[in-house]
Amino acid sequence: MSKSEVCFQVFGYLVISLVLCTILLPVLNILAVSLSEKNAVIQNRVTIFPIGWETRSYQDILSMRNGVFLRTLGNTVFITVAGTIGALAVTVSAAYAMSTTFVGKKFVTFYFLVTMYFSGGVIPSYIINTNYFKLGDSYAILILPGLLSIFYVIVVRSQIEAIPPGIYEAASIDGATEFHKLFLITVPAIVPTIAAIAMFYALSYWNSWFNVMIYMRGSNKWTLQYLLRAIVMEQTLRADVQPLGTEPPPPLENFQMAAIVMVAAPIIAIYPFVQKYFVKGILSGAVKG
């Protein structure tokens, strides 16, 4: 390596490490605060290593009034699983149909594309969903609107079109129905793509909170993200999310940091193993065309 090459390498590692620190240090700091003992937190001595070892904040969160945390966790898992399965069914079906020819396909294409470019907006949606469909305060409003993203229909369709048409023709001659062709030929042929879009749908359900904020009345259908917002971002802790039973109460900092850790932990634990699906998904949207 030449001297300038060595310089560049050193500089490169340094710059990238610095960038990574902006991600790692805050995460470690929050983890450390959540696990540190009360006095260290109050005196502001915690950096990225816990001082003392105190897991009471975590117990406090688990034992929040009426088991709000566990209930919320259950809701989030339910919405994510039901939403993702439903979304895959709707998306893959639509993509399959759009890869075939049928009367009125031009119209359906237009019908799909309009929704990518134009939306009614928050308030019209809210009025329609609550006054007309009566979906306020229901699980349905947390699941149904997210079931279909036309963008993923496009991604899946382009994968389906890469399947050799001869397979479908042979199947038709053997008397296969459209449903056979969808479930027995198409789905098995595009499993990696299905896995990738499943991840995107799952992530968006797992991270959802806005519809909880505008549609839910009580805390019984909250999602984890919304619970975290209630714990960390409101001026005063609502009765719903106050820690119960422990006297004296832990410093708010500990409690809030523990909440951040508990809400973020599942995603941070899982994402290194599924990142390749996201990369694939993102690229298949970009290289199309």
Partner: protein, 315 residues
């Protein structure tokens, strides 16, 4: 485009017979069509609220017409022009700083020798993409806290006064731009890293043999290799210049920061769901509709440009 099922439909059939043949396809499409009808087309019909004095009791059709009253109302509202200005300024900041960041990150990472380190760096860089804005904003608020945040601890360590990042409106736009970069650069860099991997390595060797230095190689080989993806992503980002993600702003701002931080999406939200007072559904819908319309024109043209200059098309 390959037409699947061509064998069955080559002979032209009478319409009715063809419709009967296509019936299973309509059944397969039905859930998607119904969902779009419910959650996309009904709200578009609901935009009528913007042109009416909407009263929930009278319903959308039953409410009295207001014409363009609510459009005139928000055009005269100084707050509207403030949120327009903020939305544009933040987006321009994103284009200037947020857009090049992942390109530089990808270029540097691409040159590093240790593949293990590169893999680690990429994995870490994806982390902010996977967490929600709620988690991200919680982290940002906590590290910026003037009393206990690690950023201010560092500032205090060097003997300076702590900075109240989240109550000074002059800091807020840079904060949005930086936190936006922080959350998205890892995944955005994916496009460029993939494009870099696609460049023929022999070109570099040939250039080196011809005596071209690193800079000339970067200029004549690397940049042309990235050209298309840069154009596509730039044009698409230009197309969203009128919109800023609601979550990021909403979860980080507070009334002290409206001056620089209030954007169209948060303004529309607060009109419809005010902390106190009567919801202004019609006014909020009018602002939202105007933004949708502007977005539609911008995104539509952005896609056309992307197709024209880089051969990229969505459908």
């Amino acid at each position: 485009m390959a037409t699947i099922g061509a064998a069955a439909t080559t002979r032209k059939k009478p319409l009715l017979a063809q419709l009967k043949l296509d019936l299973p396809k309509y059944v397969i499409l039905a859930p998607a069509i119904i969902l779009l009808f419910m959650f996309n087309y009904m709200p578009i019909y609901g935009v009528l609220i913007a042109f009416k004095n909407f009263k929930a009791a009278k319903g959308i059709l039953g409410s009295d017409w207001a014409g363009f009253h609510y459009f005139e109302l928000f055009l005269r509202d100084p707050n509207f022009w403030r949120v327009m200005k903020n939305t544009l300024l933040i987006n321009i900041g994103n284009l200037l700083f947020g857009f090049p960041f992942p390109i530089i990150f990808a270029l540097v990472i691409n040159e590093l020798r240790s593949k293990k380190f590169v893999k680690f760096a990429q994995t870490v860089s994806y982390l902010p993409y996977f967490i929600s804005w709620v988690v991200a904003a919680s982290i940002i608020r906590s590290i910026l806290s003037p009393s206990t945040g690690m950023v201010n601890n560092a500032i205090k360590f060097f003997g300076f006064e702590p900075i109240y990042f989240l109550s000074k409106s002059s800091f807020f736009q840079p904060l949005l731009i930086i936190s936006g970069i922080w959350k998205g650069f890892g995944m955005s860099a994916v496009y460029y890293i993939a494009a870099l991997a696609g460049i023929d390595q022999e070109l570099y060797q040939a250039a080196a043999v011809d005596g071209a230095g690193k800079m000339r190689q970067a200029w004549h080989i690397t940049l042309p290799g990235l050209r298309n993806i840069i154009i596509v992503l730039f044009v698409l980002q230009l197309g969203s210049i009128m919109s800023i993600g609601f979550d990021q702003v909403f979860l980080l701002y507070n009334p002290m920061l409206y001056e620089t931080g209030d954007v169209i999406s948060t303004y529309t939200y607060r009109l419809g769901f005010p902390d106190s007072g009567v919801p202004q559904y019609s006014l909020s819908s009018a602002v939202g509709f105007t933004q949708s319309l502007a977005n539609f024109i911008l995104v539509f043209n952005a896609n056309r440009l992307a197709k024209k200059y880089a051969g990229w098309s969505l459908w």
